[in-house]
Amino acid sequence: MPLVRTERLTKAFGALTAVNEVTLEIEEGSLHAVIGPNGAGKTTFFNLLTGQHAPTSGRIIFDGRDIAGTPPHRIAHLGIARSFQRTSIFPVLSILDNVWLAAFARQESWRGLAWRRADRYPELTRRALDVLGEVGLGEKAGLPAREISHGEQRQLELAIALAAAPRLLLLDEPAAGLSPDETQRMVTLVRRLKGRYTVVLIEHKIDVVMSMSDRISVMHFGSLIAEGTPDEIRRNAEVRRAYLGGIAAP
């Protein structure tokens, strides 16, 4: 059984249909990439999954229940975490606090919410530090988040999503705006998540997804135009016309 299934999921903003009847299944434990040109509706699709937008029509079945239209904070508690295409962190707070807040939110009980000192949650702090170590920010845990480089903020963005210990991890162009070196590091990081999390990855850099994805869905003008393994996608004529344009052709 897939972990997530969308059924004819649609989102219209006035006359613009950003996501048009997308039916998609994400297998548990897989790394599923969603690609497509700018404005294809990829991020809107994510916003529907995480509750930022309510769908115009269609259903989102997560783990057997319809979650379409559920507000974002509830969806987070179901175990869906995301990173943002445009870095979305808490600039003044320390890097550790950025990640710690993500871990705290997923606690079963919020005991001591307004009274216990935040640094007296040893297991959460350890988890936050573990995640920071994993993305390579362990040394900088005490710094305010605004004081690190863009590349490091992208790593923090990923760490915040991971700290929520998600059942479904949505990564929205984790390598956006990164240099080739930084991109390589990010690719390594994401590759290491494979198998441990169910990951949906939006990515612009086609070579990145071809090498690591289990399945790839291609969106174009809000619709799903193809789905399959990386090899199938590479051979698909329609995809080449709409998106690849020969650039990434072998």
Partner: protein, 316 residues
């Protein structure tokens, strides 16, 4: 630790140097500021209607003190409760909106409470205020004397400060700051932003309520101004001057504000001009108020003292 020692010293020394009533008012206003700061400084919600909670608590507790002779603990408890409940009602309506609309809602609701108090003369005394509020005896101790009442208020202030310190250092304190920094992200992490804002309102309202009752007992009257928007503005002013978003900011702000308004106003009737100048300086150069100015001064001194080779630039 150093900050607490400084505050303890201030608590002890203040009545030596300034009139007891003024010294008492400083700590009352500081409690009021602590409540606002949780909203304005930590959560990023500029409430322009804090007098709603301050005044409501002062009226309700004052009324019960005057006509039913309730004891001190009950009066304080009722003040805190009325502050929290009125803040829950106002907050529930206000957190539905953000930005300018939020600010205007807090202001408009404040005006509604103000005009209710203004019109309901049989209870509140309208423009004349509600006079004749006693200071009840507590556990056989007489707190009528100015110094005894000062000690009571100062003690309650220290407790309030400690409670607020615990709150801002708790997960809730971090969540509120996260909401201030990046609301959509906080929501995406799983925090119910509206509910968290409401919690900040209720806690802030409780502090305002406590301050309101203490104020009524200090002057023996609840003046109509206690629920007016000027009062709401004053606490915003004081907190900004002291430094919003830092725990001790409103305490310093209250000291500067009350001291200026009570001492300088005796010498110079145009004292609000001074306040205006102070406010402009803060907004233009020290957005973090006195607290930031202080930190920058020390950073600058340290930089000057460092050997020329190792000199680092003072923060901007």
């Amino acid at each position: 630790m150093k900050a607490w020692l400084a505050i303890l010293a201030a608590v002890v020394l203040l009545p030596v140097f300034v009139r007891h009533a003024i010294a008492t008012e400083i700590w009352i206003f500081a409690i009021f500021g602590l409540g606002l700061n949780l909203l304005m400084g930590y959560t990023g919600l500029l409430s322009f209607g804090q007098a709603t909670f301050f005044g409501s608590a002062a009226y309700v507790a004052g009324y019960l003190l005057k006509y039913y002779g309730i004891n001190l603990f009950l009066a304080l408890g009722i003040g805190v409760l009325v502050g929290a409940v009125s803040a829950a009602v106002v907050g529930y309506l206000c957190v539905q909106r953000s930005g300018l609309y939020f600010i205007m809602l807090t202001f408009a609701l404040n005006q509604m409470f103000f005009f209710t108090a203004y019109q309901w003369t049989t209870v509140t005394g309208g423009e004349d205020g509600m006079p004749g509020i006693p200071r009840p005896t507590v556990l056989g101790l007489d707190i009528h004397g100015p110094l005894a009442y000062y000690a009571t208020v100062a003690g309650l202030f220290l407790v309030s400060l400690w409670v607020m310190k615990r709150i801002v250092e708790s997960p809730l304190g971090k969540i509120l700051q996260a909401i201030r920094e990046n609301e959509p992200r906080a929501e995406a992490l799983g925090y119910d932003v509206s509910r968290m804002k409401l919690v900040a309102f209720v806690v802030g309202g409780a502090f305002s309520g406590l301050a309101g009752v203490l104020y009524a007992m200090l002057f023996g009257i609840v003046p109509l101004e206690a629920i007016g928007f000027v009062f709401s503005g004053n606490v915003v002013f004081a907190t900004l001057i002291g430094g919003s978003g830092s725990l001790y900011g409103p305490v310093i702000g209250s000291f500067v504000f009350i001291w200026l308004s009570e001492s300088v106003s005796a010498m110079w009737a145009r004292w609000p001009l001074l306040l205006g100048v102070a406010f402009v300086i803060v907004v233009l150069f020290f957005r973090g108020g006195v607290v930031e100015a202080w930190a920058r001064f020390w950073a600058w001194r340290a930089a000057r003292r460092a050997p020329a080779g190792a000199r680092v630039d003072a923060p901007r």
